[in-house]
């Protein structure tokens, strides 16, 4: 592909100093276009990009699901989705009317080979009508069990390769398998049809501005990197806490749980971003190589380790702000005797020269006290404490990288209180991402969709990363699967089960209250 691109004349109108990224025209084929993800995330993100002039004029979407709908019906549904789930101040009727002209609907059963012939015909017509250059991005937003069959049919119908010089890419939504073996099998099926460079495994956490900012923070500033190692860092905590329960995803959640749903993908990716070595270049392969090395360096847990280094939890009923909250087992679609973890905490060790011996505490849970995702890095104390009489309680320096709800960076340090004597107080120096740059942060899906259209896989997971993260959590999965948990073990609205605190107490650490 690189050779083909090199032959194309460069665009003489590009002004890289001022213009946003170059985005070619293409058609996005969304399998599962009538599903929640398409309605809540994908279409609002695409409309938002169109509103901000980030998509090319000939951009098109071909939605698929089994529900028989006309193009007009599909457009009407998507319009409502954009109104319901998009940013309120961005909806504009005139812009929508222009955008919807590029929306098409190709209904059919994705297991039926005949469907792909009609899809092919439609894509050819769209390419001609919209001048997309026969570029097609397939987006798998269906049940994971359909990923393999869809990919095989795309190949059989000749849709996986363009005959007219366009490109083909495929975006795969998580879960990438439910364990290491299934992840490998899924990969085998997709890689049998698409090149690895054409496969975009989406982890929307990596599209968040603040996760990307970790890279900028670490590698654009010279002052932090010298401290970023086992000599100065005492512990790292990664927290992804949600206040909501499983809502209407009980059926799905019963099959996944917090460990698979959050830790295996999102949080280990965040860990890798935080702990990676500086890449030689800011390019997809260089960045992903370094992340992959970190994930492969995570110490595998033995069965005995799991009881010491991992804690499962499940929320029971609770009461928050005068409102009674149901326990997980009372949620719709959930087994009343469920053994599914809605909370997972684990201590990982990254066995490399930079991080040997530093615990990485990772936790994620539903129905916790506060919605927050952050990385907290605790630095070692000063080697000699001068002010122990004035401030008997040790207050370590903390660097907090906040991912959501409001991204930013805080540095906590001690300062002298103004006035007589040497009284110390902790102060927090905050960089607030949204307010400091005064611009709307693009949603993670906006960022990632543009990346895929532009052919930039930096923020997408590569197969070796997926396998390494499965390898890190699989021992926990195995032990928990064969264990009868004493669930529920934390109340909705609390900070999780007691054993999670005990896990840190062993190292005389404790969870930070975000």
């Amino acid at each position: 592909m690189a050779a083909a691109e090199a032959m194309v004349d460069p665009n003489p109108f590009i002004d890289s100093l001022r213009f946003e990224r170059r985005i070619p025209a293409c058609t996005i084929v969304i399998f599962g276009a009538n599903g929640d993800l398409a309605k809540r995330k994908l279409l609002p993100a695409l409309y938002s990009l169109a509103h901000d002039r980030r998509l090319s004029a000939g951009f098109a979407v071909a939605g698929n699901s089994r529900t028989p709908l006309s193009d007009e019906d599909f457009r009407a549904r998507m319009k409502q989705s954009v109104k319901d789930f998009g940013e309120q101040d961005q909806y504009d009727e005139e812009v929508w009317q222009s955008f919807e002209r590029g929306l098409y609907y190709v209904p059919g059963d994705v297991k039926d080979p005949a469907y792909y012939n009609s899809l092919k015909e439609r894509l050819e017509a769209i390419s001609s009508e919209r001048h997309t250059g026969d570029n097609v991005l397939f987006y798998l937003s269906t049940q994971p069990s359909l990923y393999g069959p869809i990919v095989r049919q795309l190949e059989a119908a000749g849709l996986a390769r363009s005959e007219n010089g366009g490109w083909r890419r495929i975006v795969v939504e998580k879960p990438f398998g439910h364990d290491l073996a299934s992840a490998r099998e899924l990969s085998r099926q997709i890689q049998g049809v698409f090149e690895e460079s054409e496969i975009y495994r989406i982890d929307h956490y990596l599209g968040k501005e603040t996760v990307q900012n970790i890279l900028a923070f670490r590698f654009a500033n010279g002052i932090f990197e010298p401290l970023w190692n086992r000599r100065y860092v005492r512990q790292v905590q990664i927290t992804a806490a949600e206040t909501i329960g499983v809502e209407d995803r009980g059926g799905y959640y019963e099959e996944s749980g917090a460990l698979r749903d959050m830790v295996q993908n999102h949080l280990l990716q965040v860990l890798a971003t935080m702990a990676m070595e500086p890449p030689a270049r800011f390019e997809a392969e260089a960045v992903r190589n370094e992340k992959s090395k970190v994930l492969e360096s995570i110490r595998p847990m033995s069965s005995d380790d799991v009881s010491r280094y991992a804690v499962a939890g499940q929320y029971g009923p609770g009461r928050v702000g005068g409102t009674d909250l149901a326990g997980y087992r009372q949620e719709r679609g959930v087994d009343p005797e469920s053994q599914t973890d809605t909370y997972a905490a684990a201590t990982f060790f990254v066995d490399n020269w930079r991080w040997a011996g530093v615990p990485f505490y990772v936790r994620s849970g539903k129905r916790l006290a506060k919605r927050v995702t952050e990385i907290s890095i605790e630095f070692a104390s000063a080697p000699h404490v001068l002010f122990s009489e004035q401030s008997p309680v040790e207050t370590p320096n903390l660097l907090i990288l906040r991912i959501q709800p409001s991204g930013g960076i805080s540095l906590r340090f001690d300062a002298k209180k103004p006035g007589e004597g040497m009284q110390l107080r902790g102060v927090s120096m905050d960089f607030h991402y949204g307010s400091s740059f005064g611009v709307r942060e693009p949603s993670a899906y906006e960022t990632l969709l543009l990346d895929a259209i532009a052919g930039d896989g930096t923020l997408y997971s590569r197969q070796d990363m997926v396998e390494a993260s499965w390898a890190a959590v699989e021992p926990i999965v195995e032990v928990w699967k064969n264990q009868k948990h004493d669930f529920p073990n934390y109340a909705a609205g609390s900070w999780g089960p007691g054993p999670s605190d005990q896990m840190l107490n062993e190292n005389r650490h404790r969870w930070r209250t975000p």
Binding site: D15, R18, S56, R130, P405, M429, D430, H432
Partner: protein
């Protein structure tokens, strides 16, 4: 009257101390944010309230020490200063972030004293940007004096009388100072980006050599002549297309047409006025077209607060697109300019060509 810079610095420190006293939150220090020193040179008659509002908004994205210099015409002895802060609350947070603003009033007579006042007030180790509003102050000797401090000089030739003189002045300035830019150029970014986006399509790119005519349309008062933005757009398009100013030109009602060369071919560029109520003296449309068959045409038109794009690549086949395209505020334009500290070679090349076009059609 005189200004003692040390007194001003002390006043700034006192201001910060008083703000800290009223800062909410025991554990939160008041944030003082600064990424540059922004010198703003304006006419005394400029709307101070609107300007302060612009600066306050700008400071949320580019926290700075803003030094607003209001220059009165005439020869009085005015040289006065005042200090204030702009504070804002980050979304959903109690903590305040503040930036400082110093207002200095001078007359044309006392303006030469400004450099000695400003030198101690410039924040160390951070870039200095000079934003000059209005033709009168831009042509004062003090503007050139202050230019020496600045890594970036931002002017707006739209506010100058006579775009040909304005472009000539801007060309001279960009030859004698570094980091010169113009808000008229920044107003074109979205137009230019939309044109560039079309040519991300390889099929369109392959048809570039077929283009034989470019037509630019502007609104506003026809008697005011072709605005600088239209010249700059023409200059940029010529550079991108590799067209040269080797042919002649002729005037006709409502505009100018230039005969240009592209290799051994003759091509044309027209710049014409069109009645566009409410548009002002701004670019109204850009039309790039081929002369042969099948037709190839890219038409961008501003329609109220939208930009319409029509792309025709063969008979009966056209893609149309409408995007949100409200007029750019000063804050948006300055935000764009303040992100740039690298040499803007595209602008300088466009300015050079635009200046030569304006001289040709004069």
């Amino acid at each position: 009257m005189a200004i003692d810079p040390e007194t001003l610095i002390r006043q700034i420190d006192e201001l910060w101390a008083s703000l800290a006293d009223h800062s909410p939150g025991e554990e939160q220090a008041l944030m003082r944010a600064c990424s540059l020193t922004l010198l703003v040179l304006v006419n005394e008659e400029d709307d101070l309230a609107a300007l302060s509002e612009t600066l306050a908004e700008l400071m949320q994205s580019h926290p700075s020490r803003a030094i607003l210099i209001r220059v009165a015409a005439g020869g009085d002895e005015r040289l006065e200063a005042d200090v204030k802060a702009h504070c804002w609350m980050p979304m959903g947070r109690r903590q305040q972030i503040c930036s400082e603003q110093i207002e200095i009033q001078v007359s044309e007579r006392t303006a030469p004293d400004l450099p000695s006042v400003l030198l101690p007030l410039i924040v160390s180790d951070l870039p200095v940007v000079l934003w000059c509003r209005g033709e009168r102050v831009a042509r004062l000797p003090v503007f050139r004096q202050l230019s020496a401090f600045a890594a970036r000089l931002i002017v707006d030739v739209r506010e100058f009388r006579g775009s040909r003189d304005a472009l000539s002045w801007l060309s001279d300035l960009s030859r004698s100072a570094s980091g010169v830019t113009d808000l008229s150029w920044a107003r074109l970014t979205r137009w230019r980006e939309t044109v560039a986006q079309v040519f991300e399509n390889e099929a369109c790119r392959q048809r570039l050599p077929e283009l034989t005519a470019v037509e630019l349309t502007y609104g506003g008062n026809a008697k005011a002549g072709i605005p600088a933005s239209a010249y700059l757009m023409a200059g940029w398009l010529m550079n991108c297309l590799g067209w040269s100013l080797d042919g002649g030109s002729w005037s006709e009602k409502g505009g100018e047409t230039l005969v240009l060369r592209h290799g051994d071919r003759e091509v044309r560029m027209g710049i014409h006025h069109a009645e566009s109520p409410g548009l002002g003296s701004r670019l109204a449309a850009v039309d790039l077209k081929s002369g042969g068959e099948p037709p190839f045409e890219i038409l961008l038109r501003r329609v109220e607060d939208y930009l319409d794009l029509e792309l025709s690549t063969e008979t009966g086949s056209a893609v149309s697109n409408r995007v949100w395209f409200p007029p750019s505020s000063d804050v948006a334009l300055l935000n764009e300019e303040l992100k740039i500290f690298a040499p803007d070679t595209v602008f300088h090349a466009a300015l050079d060509t635009a200046t030569r076009i304006s001289e040709r059609v004069a």
